[in-house]
């Protein structure tokens, strides 16, 4: 038996890695198709009524017939998510910048940011609904869940500035603002984008939690509200259809943020560079 192996040459590696990528795309799709087929089969063979478990075809049908209602709900939820996300991004970054400029402020407020983060939002939501108008309360929930990763990632990024570069800025007499704009923010950018990527998904969760907590209190008619409502009416296919849309919305939000991150960082940051470079 020989222990010597010839390393694969570049020509061999390329089709190999391309094939691997194809497999990585095709495998999950195959699993999805198999899952849907099995689900449909179980429902049909056992004659399960749609109010117990609708088959995928029934869900899909509902998605189309109920599209006028569901699309409006989707828009409502997306709007809430977007507003919560924007508030979380602005608030998280602004707070991190403030903390970075003043240690006193950081020591005074950071523990409360942590407390806000570790207290389950589903428990805070009913309180918020008492004191705030429903639409504001929903956005506030999205903000509470989503701002912390932005805050902590931005703080980490601002503190990860290269020591020598910081020395260089001091040597050339850079002002605080110059150091912030030309050194700290660009250094922190990969971290900020990572935080935003997490915050995107979380703000959707925050919006959904708040919508469910608001329930019939009348927080508009978002997708989560539709799910709760359809549950009461035993309209199970519509519950599944709304859930499907929520999942899709989450995937799209994550994808868009990941794409943004990649486009912004692709020229210089390790995370956005191919392995070959």
């Amino acid at each position: 038996m020989s222990f010597l192996q010839t390393p694969p040459s570049a020509e061999q590696a390329t089709p190999d890695s391309r094939g691997l990528r194809l497999v990585r795309i095709l495998l999950p799709i195959a699993v999805l198709a198999a899952g849907i087929a099995a689900w449909e089969l179980v429902v049909r063979l056992n004659n399960i009524p749609p109010y117990v478990l609708p088959g995928p075809s029934a869900v899909f049908e509902t998605l189309i017939t109920d599209w006028p209602v569901l699309s409006l709900s989707l828009l409502t939820t997306l709007e809430t998510t977007l507003e919560g996300f924007a508030a979380a991004a602005a608030g998280g970054i602004a707070l991190a910048l403030l903390f970075n400029q003043s240690k006193w402020l950081e020591y005074s407020l950071f523990p409360y940011a942590v407390i806000l983060q570790v207290t389950p939002v589903i428990a805070i939501a009913p309180l918020l609904l008492i004191y705030l108008p429903p639409q504001t309360a929903v956005i506030a929930c999205a903000w509470i869940v989503a701002f912390f990763p932005v805050l902590s990632n931005t703080t980490l990024g601002l503190n990860s500035v290269d020591r020598n570069l910081a020395g260089l800025f001091r040597l050339y007499g850079a002002s605080r603002l110059q150091t912030l704009a030309y050194l700290k923010l660009p250094s922190a950018l990969p971290y900020i984008l990572g935080g935003l990527r997490i915050a995107g998904g979380l703000s959707l969760i925050g919006a959904v939690v708040a919508e469910i907590a608001a329930g019939s209190a009348g927080a508009g008619s978002g997708l989560a509200y539709r799910i709760a409502e359809s549950g009461y009416r035993l309209n199970i296919p519509r519950m599944f259809a709304a859930l499907l849309l929520l999942s899709a919305a989450g995937i799209v939000i994550y994808g868009l943020l990941a794409l943004t991150s990649h486009l912004v960082l692709r020229r210089w940051h390790e995370s956005a560079l191919g392995k070959e470079n």
């Binding site: 290269d162 020598n164 570069l165 020395g167 260089l168 800025f169 001091r170 040597l171 050339y172 007499g173 850079a174 110059q178 030309y182 050194l183 660009p186 250094s187 950018l189 020229r267 210089w268 940051h269 560079l273 470079n277």
Partner: protein
């Protein structure tokens, strides 16, 4: 930032840097340096040579004003018409210390941008500095697209762009391969001959210090002190001929001997 005291030009007789009784004790109580007395004339090329931890980098950071001395005075020449020490000193770190998120051109422009230099003047000086280090064609590249030696050249161009009187270099070529290091040594000497900057060059390589400098200052560690000072009287311009000459070998032996006591006390070095 600890601003070093300004040397007034008339009464310092052509000195660019003057340290008197300078010590540095870190917060942990470790005495890193001194007391140290050092004078460097204008236009002189001086190397600080010593084992790791002998405080040579600390001395350089004190001269740059990046750290404040615990005692003693640090005097640095401020040419007339320039307000800040920042402009009279260029600093090259051990690593290239470039901003990865922006182009070579913007990296070199940084000192001018921080000083609010007019855009047109800045453009011209950036181009000049990049030409001096032979990187004019790579102005729009990003640092990660360059080799280690090229990154170091960008770092050098950035130090030169403010046209400083004094160039402080902290083991700039230590991480490079020998061939690249030789080339950069030659280029640095050529730059020094043309521009006549005052260069203080920190290194732990005997061969590099002898090849480059007019004066080698040998330091010992804990706390860092000067143990020997060797003048290298070799004809200019120096080139590959000098690197292979008996004179060079002789100086290297002399400097090595001067350095030996610094190492004998160290265990496991």
């Amino acid at each position: 930032m600890a601003e070093p005291a300004a040397l007034s030009e008339p009464d310092t007789a052509g000195l660019a840097v003057s340290l008197r009784g300078v010590t540095k004790v870190y917060d942990t109580g470790v005495a890193a340096l001194g007391p140290l007395d050092l004078d460097v004339r204008r236009g002189e090329f001086v190397s600080l040579l010593g084992p790791s931890g002998c405080g040579k980098s600390t001395a350089l950071r004190l001269i740059a004003g990046l750290n404040a001395p615990s005692a003693g005075t640090v005097g640095v020449l401020h040419p007339a018409g320039r307000a800040k020490a920042a402009h009279s000193i260029g600093f090259v770190f051990q690593e290239p210390t470039l901003m990865p998120w922006t182009s070579v051109r913007e990296n070199v422009r940084l000192p001018l941008k921080l000083a609010h230099a007019p855009a047109e003047e800045a453009d011209a000086r950036v181009n000049e500095a990049l030409t001096q280090v032979g990187l004019a064609e790579f102005a729009d590249a990003y640092p990660r697209e360059l080799s280690g030696g090229m990154k170091m050249r960008v770092s050098l161009a950035r130090a030169l762009v403010t046209d400083p009187q004094i160039l402080l270099m902290d083991e700039p070529f230590a991480a490079l391969d020998e061939i690249t290091r030789f080339r950069l040594n030659n280029d640095l000497l050529a730059l020094w001959r043309n521009l006549r900057k005052t260069v203080i060059f920190v290194t732990h390589s005997v061969f590099e210090s002898v090849y480059l400098s007019q004066r080698v200052i040998v330091m010992t560690s804990r706390p860092g002190r000067i143990t020997a000072e060797i003048r290298i009287d070799a004809p200019e311009p120096r080139g590959e001929d000098f690197r292979t000459s008996p004179t060079y070998a002789g100086y290297c032996r002399e400097v090595s001997n001067a350095l030996a006591p610094s190492y004998s006390g160290q265990q496991g070095a």
